[in-house]
Symmetry: C2
Amino acid sequence: MTFPVVGMVGGGQLARMTHEAGIPLGIRFKLLSDAPQDSAAQVVRDVVVGDYRDLDTLRGFARGCDVITFDHEHVPTEHLRALEAEGIAVRPGPDALVHAQDKGVMRARLTELGVPCPRHRLVADPADVARFAAEVGGFPVVLKTVRGGYDGKGVWVVDSAAEAAATTAPFLAGVPVLAEEKVAFTRELAANVVRSPHGQAVAYPVVESVQVDGVCDTVIAPAPDLADELGLAAQQLALRIAKELGVVGHLAVELFETEDGRVLVNELAMRPHNSGHWTQDGAVTSQFANHVRAVLDLPLGDPRPRAPWTVMANVLGGDFPDMYPAYLHCMARDPRLKIHMYGKDVKPGRKVGHVNTYGDDLADVRERARHAADYLRGVITE
Amino acid sequence: MTFPVVGMVGGGQLARMTHEAGIPLGIRFKLLSDAPQDSAAQVVRDVVVGDYRDLDTLRGFARGCDVITFDHEHVPTEHLRALEAEGIAVRPGPDALVHAQDKGVMRARLTELGVPCPRHRLVADPADVARFAAEVGGFPVVLKTVRGGYDGKGVWVVDSAAEAAATTAPFLAGVPVLAEEKVAFTRELAANVVRSPHGQAVAYPVVESVQVDGVCDTVIAPAPDLADELGLAAQQLALRIAKELGVVGHLAVELFETEDGRVLVNELAMRPHNSGHWTQDGAVTSQFANHVRAVLDLPLGDPRPRAPWTVMANVLGGDFPDMYPAYLHCMARDPRLKIHMYGKDVKPGRKVGHVNTYGDDLADVRERARHAADYLRGVITE
């Protein structure tokens, strides 16, 4: 068979689920993983255990692949440029991916494109944070390390100059910090699109993403009560960003919806994304399958939903290290429940899986997802 | 994590798709495969390459598994009894599986249970075939080796005593041969059910299976124009067989529908089956996921269909060893097409994949599946 080999850097659950989606496509999947017991490494045949920060490791890994793509944003941009210069297909390429790696670069570029964003600028130290606060009408303001943050890590909301001074870790470490106005948003949305090298693109329905403590908790597809024009505008915005930035693969555009009916871009991710997990059971083609198709420049699959409502709820680790009894209970309670476990050890607050539910009645679909996620976490027992 | 390990014997596409279905369930999957490049071995982390006919190989493989199950029926029954006697969970167990391994045992048991079957008996030689033909009203009659047949292999329809004499290979080899009357059936159906050790069972909708040259070509779910009572009777028959034979896991009951509105049992398979591939995209829970749930004695998932019609068409190898260009074409033509490739080298007539389509309009759903399968095989080029 001359079917191609996709290499994915990073052994987390996104790689695990991308491999799962690639099996029916008949593509060969190779993994560069930090450790042999990582989530994806448990289920993939061809695993290279190595450090993605090492250029020679990346080079050796890429040698057996027709294209390399990513489970996370942490591969140094300069390494990706080196690989690309050597003729290796890197998708998304470094010129696109840098916008998902560096929030400063992302904000500058989106602003240049006229994409609505919260007011923002790089800040030098706590005194500069106070000046920025004055510029945007006062505290609170949001501080973000420009690289390396995720799931609420590397993000602080500060209410005063004193609190900004107390949040000194990033400044002391000399990491560039971006300050952003705290947007008075009504809710968070995500517009997910997939784009291929020859420019074909598909847009999934815009979803509502409910965050708890800075971590995605629940995703509702499509976003309830979203004005048609605003939903369409958000999809078009995401497609435009994908095109202007030259994204290949899945692009998640996390958005704030404001009281006056606008959307502002919060974050970008150029890989399968938590806000797209619902597509595994809720769309004709999942984000994972379309990511694989895109990086191989294959025609993309239909992104349309299969049910009126699909809800995804993340399963976080709780106080019970053994989730198996709860998992069994949830299967017995709801034979329609779609469980996705990542094979990860349970630690409090860690994403160890998610559940998808779908159906005609949003309240019922939400309750089923919510119950299963809470039961698996151990915060309810009936 | 204390999630269990399922070991599957056999590295074909059924194991490949069972692994795919097990990934979201978070179960660990181990494979005993004939060769490192077998269909399933390409995509599974833990592969033991070895001979399933060797008891010590099976023993060593089973040691790392909580339960063992099967991609095919060819493991010697006595080995399975030995493993079971040593305390290894074998599901389905040998007392059930022997009915899918040996057509003589199957016919005897089903007849004892009063399950409608074609008239049949073991035959000793070509002269005995002629006597059997006289008993059932004349030729043609069907001859089957009791063990080892599949996809039309090991099955002969003979029209005369002379032709029975010419079909001597099985007799000369000393293999027991079962003679069956050639049933004047209107079409073939399959009733697929899944049963767990504690006796929970689910029944999928009865499907129509269209055979070409003794190989499954197309499956239509549900079977069009099937009388409600007959569909229900077929499901109940399959559930009864599963219970009486003590089946654990997926049971496919292949049926003949007769002109006078009855069903007769043709074959049994105790593993995921070609007639259930439609469930991957057409049912709430696939046969593969339910097989895994059953062998682990987990609660079973909902078997109901997700669309009014789902059609599966097998992709057979044709004259073109490289299927990738055709695969790309099919994706471009039909973004809703669900392709399932097995990673196998293309050989004429070999099952190398299948496609699923679903929707509201049966004619359209059939045409889309048919077109894709024919295009991939290379028998049409537009």
